[in-house]
Symmetry: C2
Subunit: 210 residues, 2 copies
């Protein structure tokens, strides 16, 4: 398989973690977002959304990190990335979607560029926007997870919700959000970072193929 990847893409970071958890090695094809490579005709011919990541599965190309991760979980069932039971699975998906729908799309590069170029937002206004949606989302996640004593979001093995949370907290730190109000989320992040699958997917990790 081939992953169209960019180290600082939060969605690509999710897929790298999932591939590592599944023990799958893929060929990495860099798509440099700073240089606008995702907007090239070549990349659009592969993935018409012009978004990163894409996974060339061998059966065809897939976009959308959560769809890719569910695909990996169905094709390589061990270790499972979702718990057993319809309700527990849905709860894990709900936590993941709170990151993937309610925080990340509002804060990604193309949106910050629009705010600046089309609406004349200042650096300060862009940062306030970024922190606003982050805080709303993280506040809700902290409240939902605070009660449980488990190591990860949904039990004592890492899964889909953790895969979405960790890159979002990486972004939160990168953009200077104070994480003191989120002790439970930070504890889950710390537990994840101890695992090779997460550590090796980190944007700052120097991958052997580079």
């Amino acid at each position: 398989m081939k992953l169209y990847d960019y180290p600082y893409s939060s969605a690509a970071y999710r897929v790298r973690i999932a591939l590592n958890l599944k023990g799958q090695t893929v060929e990495a094809v860099p798509v440099d977002l700073r240089e606008g490579r995702q907007c090239s005709a070549d990349y659009h011919a592969l993935n018409p959304t012009g978004l990163v990541p894409s996974l060339d599965t061998g059966e065809g190309l897939l976009g959308q990190s959560l769809a890719i991760i569910e695909y990996l979980d169905e094709r390589f069932p061990e270790p499972p990335l979702l718990p057993a039971g319809a309700f527990a699975r849905a709860r894990a998906r709900s936590l993941a979607l709170q990151v993937a729908c309610d925080i990340h799309p509002l804060n990604n590069l193309r949106v910050r560029q629009y705010l600046e170029r089309e609406l004349g937002a200042s650096e300060e206004q862009k940062l306030a926007w970024y922190h606003h949606w982050l805080r709303l989302g993280l506040d809700a996640l902290e409240r939902q997870l605070a009660g449980s004593g488990s190591l990860f979001c949904c039990g004592d093995t890492p899964g889909l919700a953790d895969i979405c949370l960790v890159p979002q907290l990486y972004n939160a730190r990168r953009f200077g959000l104070d994480l003191a109000p989120y002790p439970r989320l930070v504890a889950i992040d710390t537990a994840c970072q101890r695992l090779e699958a997460f550590a090796n997917a980190h944007p700052d990790h120097r991958r052997s193929d580079e």
Copy 2:
């Protein structure tokens, strides 16, 4: 089951379609977004994200429309809302997520309110924003679906991708987007609207329990 619902919430509209396709009748609890009821302490105690819809499943409360729909699909397998085979399922999820992550979160009410209140965006600027993300998303969907001759997004039975597409096209019309560049999407929408499950979930449908 109990659905915390609002007719004009695009995410709630998705869940109403899915419930109808599954033949499930639920108690509807209105949460009036115009009156800000989603921000009440009562609703936040149920769903800390303060977003609509929520489904009280009997096993617990679920938020996030896509997680709810996957739950319904696992709990009530017939008729299936996802095709057979890991790749086909992932492709259907990818189309759905293109609506749920890349279009809808950028255009919902709370974001338009932020643009106006915090960034001083005019009505014209808010509409340009709305159309911008819609067009980007619909352009990509049209290109991915144009080639196939199937009745719905993923074959000849309606499923997850159609469930996300139809409410998004409803919003596109509501906000005056010209749909002429999207003949394939409009044809899929027309096929869906012929089905009772879709027609009865429509925001303008006068439900018998009202």
